[in-house]
Symmetry: D2
Subunit: 362 residues, 4 copies
């Protein structure tokens, strides 16, 4: 399968470079009859958009989505849905001076090694700009999952450098540019970011994402496990270096008597597993957490080499985020939604035949 595609039955193929003419995607496998229009993409695209606050890269994009196919009279038809966004803010000049240099911590060097050629404009294909189309495609997945199964996917920033939430309120998450669950800390986070920018450095972050309403039975053993596919999808996000399902690395020091989620007639008494057992959903909330590295695009000079094989010192003059994790929440939601949508369709094909009675817990 194309390495720029994700999903087995709900297949999303993305294309486009950061500073090329456009970015876009083709969504194949969306069931027919789902109402959708171009306006519906605006909210989530704005949530991930660069330039939403002074704390993120100052690049500004209109990010107007054009639906090129697959929708007729406001409804999906079952044919591939192509979405297109023109790049309106191309600043190739910003990057011209690093065209011959491998920026440390960037994909410049590995793309060159693989392809022997490279598009230096804003990192080209390796830019986080590509995630815009993941979010756009997930708008359709989120809507279908909600309408068809009542599934809701949502996330939040749970760590910014050393800072962690001192409280939790879902309502707070969408009220600040950090997707932070505790409103009272927002001023402190802004001060933290301002200091970080002044220092010319960047920092990592951790994002939690979860889905409620997922029915039991989604996921395919052995190599198409729901948690396996989530791990691949989340790890494919730029800058992600770690993925956890449920208690994740905390399970290392837990005892079996503590970790296992006991069952009663009215449901499970805990959810250490993160809603997945044996790669298949339990009917509980599906929980995942990701670690994002600090961006390497910083103002502090770094040692590197150039195409000529000479040592150079690199400073990233281009726009950049002191913490890419701030924008990762909608992207993590998108990847979880795409995986769930794919498995919802796979389950329709491979579950026990309709009508069979099965006990349902929780």
């Amino acid at each position: 399968m194309s390495s720029n595609s994700t999903g087995k039955l709900f297949t999303v193929t993305t294309f486009g470079e950061s500073h090329g003419p456009a970015i876009g995607c083709v969504i194949d496998g969306c069931p027919p009859g789902l109402p959708i229009d171009a306006e519906e993409f605006r909210t989530d695209l704005e949530r991930r958009a660069t330039g939403r606050s002074r704390h993120t890269s100052q690049r500004r994009e209109a990010d107007e989505v054009e639906i090129l196919s697959g929708v007729y009279q406001g409804r999906t038809t079952g044919t591939p849905i192509a979405l297109l966004i023109r790049n309106t803010d191309q600043r190739s000049k910003d990057y011209g001076d690093i065209a011959d240099t491998f920026r440390p911590g960037h994909a410049d060097y590995t793309y060159w090694q693989k392809y022997g050629i490279r598009d230096p404009r804003g990192g080209g294909r390796s830019s986080a700009r590509e995630t815009t189309m993941r979010v756009a495609a997930a708008v359709i997945a989120k809507k279908w999952l909600a309408e068809r199964y009542g599934v809701r996917v949502r996330g939040y920033l749970v760590q910014l450098g050393e800072v962690t939430p001192e409280g939790f309120d879902w309502n707070a998450v969408e009220q600040n540019p950090f997707f932070w669950p505790h409103e009272a800390q927002v001023p402190a986070l802004e001060a933290y970011m301002d200091a970080l920018r002044k220092s010319g450095d960047s920092v990592g972050a951790r994002v939690n994402v979860e889905a409620d309403g997922v029915p039991p039975g989604w996921g395919e053993p052995i190599y198409g496990k729901l948690d396996g596919d989530l791990a691949a999808a989340l790890m494919s996000i730029n800058a992600v270096k770690g993925v956890e399902i449920g208690d994740g690395f905390d399970a290392v020091t837990q005892r079996g008597s503590q970790h296992r989620d006991e069952m009663h007639m009215d449901g499970f008494t805990s959810n250490h597993a993160g809603g997945i057992l044996g790669g298949i959903s339990t009917g509980q909330v599906v929980r995942a957490s990701i670690a994002l590295k600090p961006t390497s695009s910083i103002l502090i000079p770094g040692h590197s080499v150039n195409l000529a094989g000479e040592p150079v010192e690199v400073v990233t003059k281009g726009r950049h985020d002191p913490c890419v994790g701030i924008r990762a929440t909608p992207i993590a939601e998108a990847m979880m939604a795409l995986v769930l949508m794919d498995h919802a369709l796979r389950h329709r094909a491979q579950c026990a035949d309709v009508g069979e009675i099965k006990p349902r817990i929780s």
Copy 2:
């Protein structure tokens, strides 16, 4: 693609239940001409085998591998290689009494929800028994990677519950049943395990796995990234709840100036990235780490329900490991080897045409 298959060009399909007549796999895509014979599987299968020490489940299997196809006169022919292992130690009786019960923390419940039918014999398909064939298939991948590219894949146990190594020596790893890198701690680990068994409980663990010799350029953006595929492969191992690449979750609190790996003419000065940038190998050591949950098969009674929808108390009488992580090292190595082998072949197809000159660092 089959959900019991892994790999795009080096495709391994496994089959078999824990206590069915046999387990096996079909390896498709192995290049022709690789010398291989049944004896070569013995070492790694013994490394993962249950019953290798008193610290693991007492089930004993001969695990004799029969090569059914794909090898002629001691060499691979390019056709599918089928491997078969008969299950010689089936104890269905052990599990008969839990056939109608959903063991907490097990896949019993989710398999039932998905399939409406279930094979209770030792967990059937969801048993770690399946990983035997991953290790067997990886013996071929490891050999090809070593002969063709000089790649070496190896791992070790880096945490057992709260215990961490007080020293590190690769030579120690293969000298004890825990794959522990510090020989002096082995007696303490044995005492730890004995106490754990007496308590009837279990504990989690962490395993590190790495590969050296991987050339730069392996991995495919965007959804076929080397780290993305590693995450899926490692998360697909039974009991794994978390995956890290390079510094993993430590990156959350790092600064960009600290995390980015600078480059000099004689190579990189650090490897926080774990040998992967933008989803493509850098030529450095590829490093991953996984978290394994404590097994739910313990002697301490737990609350659950049965098929009749009645509350029950479950005690796992069957053989079990107080720490499944002890046996996870060879399995983690196997999954990394399978992913690297697949990407080695994918790279041959999609890299720049042969003969093109590219700068090589480190």
Copy 3:
């Protein structure tokens, strides 16, 4: 995907060489709950078996199927079903003398070119022996299609060299070793075959295969069309050189007013399309026809070359069929059944949501 696998959701992977220790397959994606036992494979395997009459190769195989996994208490569980058949009649000596020779019209030369190594025993992987597992896997597909949808797949020999049927009766097809639809011609066919064997030559054949009961809506535009997948599946059968859907090549001289199948309230008035329009089933009988070349394994000497690059004269001393087409009917049925089963599952995933009302014609 593995090139030894077929099917997207009902995935069949076969392995094994003609004269290796065994042949087998792994069937992944079979819905749970289907009753199946080893005895059920006997009929179709016998139908395709070599040695069923004096008109086919005298090789005799027990073809005893062993179910290695995926079935518990007589029902499929949803996990991969592995089937194994031991090769009990290996005569490597027969082929030893042609190990260094490329038999004209055989895959010897192309396998050598591709793999640089070759298994000469009975053609190794390229032998029609491999089709045994297609037939075995299709036994499960046929049963599920029949029980779940009332689909029936059946075929017959419609041309043997220059001979065509002078009458048609489905009941006759299973009453003679040729799968010939007109009983009265059987003695003539036997005389034809005897003469052919005496001459040491072989001849081609044509087989028709069809399925009734297929509901409308199966098949996926654009590159997963039902007819496209049937074409690939049928062309993958050894010796097949042509595939037709519906009227096939007769359509070249037809007029649109004659070819198009008109619709009335009580159904279609004709079926020139062969039950497929735009790659999707119409609800009519799905009809296909295939051309099989005359086998190249004949007693008449032929010019060729050997590994040393010297000209040689080749005579195939080994057992062979004067007309491989005689055994192709069950194999063609098998491939059509596998494709239909796969699309039945794909349709479950991708059709309009359950409950939606759609007009149904015929």
Copy 4:
């Protein structure tokens, strides 16, 4: 894999409806460094374009290709290449009156059955308009195959209704709007077509396509055979009802002594096999032939039903071709080129390791 994608390593995904805003494709897997610019698409798109002569549908499209990604400074980069063509000639009115009617012989009915919804504008996704993007994608495949391996793919019309060529000259093929290999017959063909249009009817056709320069060894047994993939690719073309490789259905009446292609030191003495044995290329010319049905879009009224379930009489007022086969030649070339390109890359991954010596014939 997406059903709107074709190819395993050179993956082409198409999107767009006949009268939607645009059609396009994403090409993933093209090796880096291939020089390409938008102008290069003009020739082949013009060759397949509607409106190239009075004998084809009068719809006129500019078919201007815009390269959206994957090309930097005139060379492919290895990232996905997205091509876009705006639909400049949309005439929804033409089709408004048949929105509620199922045209006999069209995909209207089957799309409705599958999706429960339908885009009536010019047949929507089922229109031959989609093949424009196959031809565009194949321009890249043809160029790479030519530069890298010297492969040339070309085809011609070999039968128009009852008419067959009375001579053969490759030079003539591109000199007339029929791709007919004998110039002297062109006036007769034009008269034939004029009479056909007057009658308001249509007729079928046969197209031959071949590739020379294909090295031995391309193609993957058993289910990824070169001929199997060609059969699927060619059958996926609108209106195709039959596919032949080499002698195709003529092989039915041939003898083995006649069909098998003998080998001498200076090559093969014949090519009945069509350049493929055992699913792998022999190094000879790869030959295929396809049958195209007469279009169902004719002026002669036909019986059908409508969405309300009432009997209706249908007349296709829209633009149409009396023989769609006339435009099929470039499309057949495109599909053969896409399959060969995919297998060229697959061969790079899976062939014997570089440097191994193999005998080469012809």
